[in-house]
């Protein structure tokens, strides 16, 4: 199987080179057969990549420790599920997964557009072929999953890192890869539009859904990673501004900006250059994120050890930026805006401000990530950029962004008059101010940023609620029917708009969860002998003894903490440590979640007394409303799905606009 897998990878490389060359020739000659051949090459490349994936999985399942990816990341007693998912625990294996997603997404995008965008598609194939060639070359020649171990083949493997033996790590990396990789599709369309001069809005329509897929996958992947960190890494939080977490956040911010600014181009014919810049930035940041994860230049719980692919990835990012910048400059005359911004008090202006703030936040994060690298390169000393730096910029840029989330949907296009502003915003503003006063009276004034964030959340919630209420009422006035019927009609006829509002609600829920769990959490640490108690935010925890139990490939040592509150029992918490058969040690926190309030009682075992007396050191946190962070993920996905759902009316309109008009030319 190893031979087959290796040949399959060489074949992928050959096929992607062919697709890139055939795409260029098809674009230059207008040859449809060459274009079909390039498209077929992507399907064949996908099939060959899957053969390579199956070959690696076969080696993992049969414990072929002659392969480095198997020997370094699995062991004979690793459960089968984690043995399969260890494909992406290794740098080489994860590169193969990246290639599988890339060839699959490219083949699908080319297939979807086989009868549309005929002038663009050869160049889309060429760009995607170029990107796939680069990653196939890395997987085949630089960091191959079929590389053998140096020296003697071991009888057993080193085992999988304990922190990766968690169900979230089965889903989190593939979801992030889906997000990173599918950013290639909008980039390829943008470059094809610049090469062909087809800078009309058609390419935007074609890539909107792919951008949404990428953006939703990155968002979901980040939340899955945050939940993994919360339940597995065991410091009590879920987001540590780790460089690899930031690597996913940066392209997500750029994609969020693009999803907003694309509306302005479609509605007003403005921000054409800006949209090209955003797509290029989002793709470059996605590849840069891959560089951060793989190169070993940053220290992170999420990153791979140093690998040889780093310099190649950095070179690829530089080449991407250089080529896209040159193409944008070349096509500047075609990217002139149809209209000008007439007033700063208009929806297009709020979208522009939203874009500037998102990009400013993305670049603040980027600077925080690259500063330690630059500092080490220039001065030879590694500096660290810690959470307060990021928290500062999150507040500075994040709070105005949150305000714009509420302002944007309610303000009119082109220009809003003072009368309409007063009429539209009086209730949201009154609600936010009343809410702020109430929250302050409830004792939440200890954090100014927290109080401001929560007040703005009320403002945004009221604006979104008003949008749904007024829209439903208007729909009923127009078409009659019940309120639920009118609501379903309203959302169905305006999926992008109302799906977007649901995502705004998810952001509000996320902000409430993050604010409450970070600004208003309680932390206590204590040493507890058997029978001793500690009190945390009204909860009493008693050391009921230290115990052990066997797992499939580990021994679990834990302390049982009996929890009570106000004299009534709240069960037990059992934080502990797993000692794996391979000698690795993994922390296991225990969390008790309260469903109505979303508050977590979170316990960490920090140490067990060596004298076998049963004494333990524990850390206990009460994280209020942290459950809202995970609920936000569900609402976010719901909103993304509403927005992504195909709209037949829009499809008909596009067919009329591009199909009939160009039927004569066949383009």
């Amino acid at each position: 199987m190893t031979t087959l897998g290796r040949v399959a990878l060489y074949l992928v490389f050959a096929l992607t080179v062919y697709a890139a060359v055939a795409g260029v020739l098809a674009g230059r000659r207008g040859d449809r057969r060459l274009m079909r051949s390039a498209r077929n090459a992507f399907w064949a490349a996908l099939a060959a990549t899957l053969v390579a994936v199956v070959s690696v999985e076969y080696a993992l399942l049969t414990h072929d420790f002659s392969l480095a990816v198997v020997a370094e990341h699995t062991s004979r007693r690793l459960p089968t599920g984690y043995t399969l998912s260890s494909l992406w625990a290794s740098e080489a294996g994860s590169l193969l997964l990246w290639l599988a997603v890339l060839t699959g997404a490219s083949a699908l995008a080319l297939h979807q557009n086989r009868r549309r965008n005929r002038e663009l598609m050869p160049w889309v194939a060429a760009v995607l072929g170029g990107i796939a060639t680069f990653f196939a070359a890395l997987a085949a020649f630089v960091s191959s999953p079929f590389a053998h171990v140096a020296g003697t083949v071991p009888v057993d493997g080193a085992g999988l890192d304990p922190s990766l033996q968690n169900p979230y790590m089965v889903a989190h990396p593939p979801m992030l890869y889906l997000g990173y990789v599918t950013m290639s599709i909008p980039f390829a369309f943008a470059m094809a539009a610049l090469i062909t001069g087809r800078t009309d809005a058609r390419w935007l329509v074609s890539v909107r859904r792919w951008t949404l897929v990428s953006w939703a996958a990155l968002g979901t992947g980040m939340l899955l990673g945050a939940h993994w960190a919360y339940v597995e890494v065991g410091w009590g939080g879920y987001w540590a501004w780790d460089p690899v977490e930031n690597a996913a956040l940066m392209p997500w911010l750029a994609a969020t900006a693009f999803l907003h600014s694309v509306i302005v181009q479609e509605k007003k014919g403005m921000l054409k250059v800006w949209n090209m810049v955003l797509v290029s930035a989002a793709f470059s940041l996605a590849v840069f994120g891959d560089f951060l994860t793989r190169s070993g230049v940053v220290q992170s719980v999420h990153s791979f050890v140093q690998s040889p692919v780093g310099p190649y990835l950095l070179g690829f990012v530089a080449a991407t930026l250089a080529v896209s910048t040159a193409l944008i400059i070349w096509r500047l005359p075609l990217l002139r805006a149809d209209h000008r911004l007439e007033s700063v008090i208009s929806r297009e202006a709020t979208f522009l401000f939203n874009n500037l703030l998102l990009l400013a936040l993305a670049f603040a994060v980027l600077w925080g990530v690259v500063f330690p690298i630059l500092s080490e390169a220039v001065r030879g000393v590694r500096s660290t950029v810690s959470a307060p730096y990021y928290d500062f910029f999150l507040v500075i840029f994040g709070l105005p962004l949150l305000a714009l989330t509420g302002i944007g949907p309610l303000i009119a296009w082109r220009r809003a008059s003072p009368d309409s502003l007063v009429r539209t915003f009086r209730w949201p503003v009154v609600s936010a101010l009343s809410g702020a006063a109430l929250l302050w009276l409830l004792g939440l004034g200890s954090s100014t940023a927290g109080l401001t964030a929560l007040s703005l959340c009320i403002f945004v919630t009221v604006t979104v609620g008003l949008e749904f209420a007024r829209g439903t009422a208007a729909r009923r006035a127009l078409a009659g029917g019940s309120i639920p019927r009118a609501l379903v009609d309203l959302v169905g006829r305006n999926r992008r708009r109302y799906g977007g509002y649901v995502v705004h609600l998810a952001i509000v829920i996320l902000v409430v969860g993050v604010t409450a769990s970070s600004a208003y959490s309680t932390v206590r640490e204590a040493h507890l002998g058997v029978g001793q108690t500690m009190v945390v935010d009204g909860y009493t925890l008693r050391n009921a003894g230290v115990f052990q139990r066997k797992g499939p490939n580990y021994t679990f040592q834990y302390v049982r903490l009996a929890v009570s509150r106000g004299g009534s029992s709240h069960g037990t918490l059992e934080p502990g440590q797993r000692v794996y058969d391979t000698g690795q040690i993994g922390n296991e926190v225990d969390i008790r979640s309260s469903v109505p309030s979303g508050t977590d009682l979170y316990s960490i075992l920090q140490g067990v007394d060596r004298d076998a007396s049963g004494g333990v050191s524990v850390k206990v946190l009460v994280n209020p409303a942290v459950g809202l962070v995970w609920l936000a993920g569900v609402v976010f996905l719901l909103g993304a799905l509403i927005t992504l759902w195909p709209d037949p009316r829009e499809a008909r309109q596009l067919a009329r606009r591009y199909g009939e008009l160009l039927a004569r030319s066949g383009a």
């Binding site: 051949s37 090459a41 009309d200 007003k268 809003a416 309409s420 829209g471 383009a667």
Partner: protein
């Protein structure tokens, strides 16, 4: 899997890929070469987009009036402007047909 079986499977995979890639050149289906967009086509496209954008803006404006985002006076002024834009675009599109 034996070495011989692996080599045979690899050869079959390569052959299959060659057939899939070469198929458009050997299939009996003949296709016309791609036609390029002329400057006039591009102008027509831009006008079609402008027309649809004006229609969408009019629909948004109606919705903004119904949901109280614009006053009656603002609505009338903006509606007249959008209608004039749409009429200009339609006239130009007619001229190109």
């Amino acid at each position: 899997m034996t070495a011989a079986a692996a080599v045979a499977a690899a050869a079959a995979l390569v052959m299959l890929a060659v057939v899939v890639v070469a198929w458009p050149f050997v299939s009996p289906e003949r296709e016309q070469p791609e036609e390029r967009l002329s400057d006039e086509d591009r102008r027509r496209l831009a006008l079609a987009e402008a027309r649809d954008a004006a229609y969408a803006s009019l629909r948004d404006l109606e919705q903004d009036l119904r949901t109280g985002k614009v006053t009656e006076a603002d609505y009338e002024a903006e509606r007249d402007r959008l209608r004039a834009d749409a009429a200009r675009v339609l006239r130009e599109l007619d001229r190109l047909r």
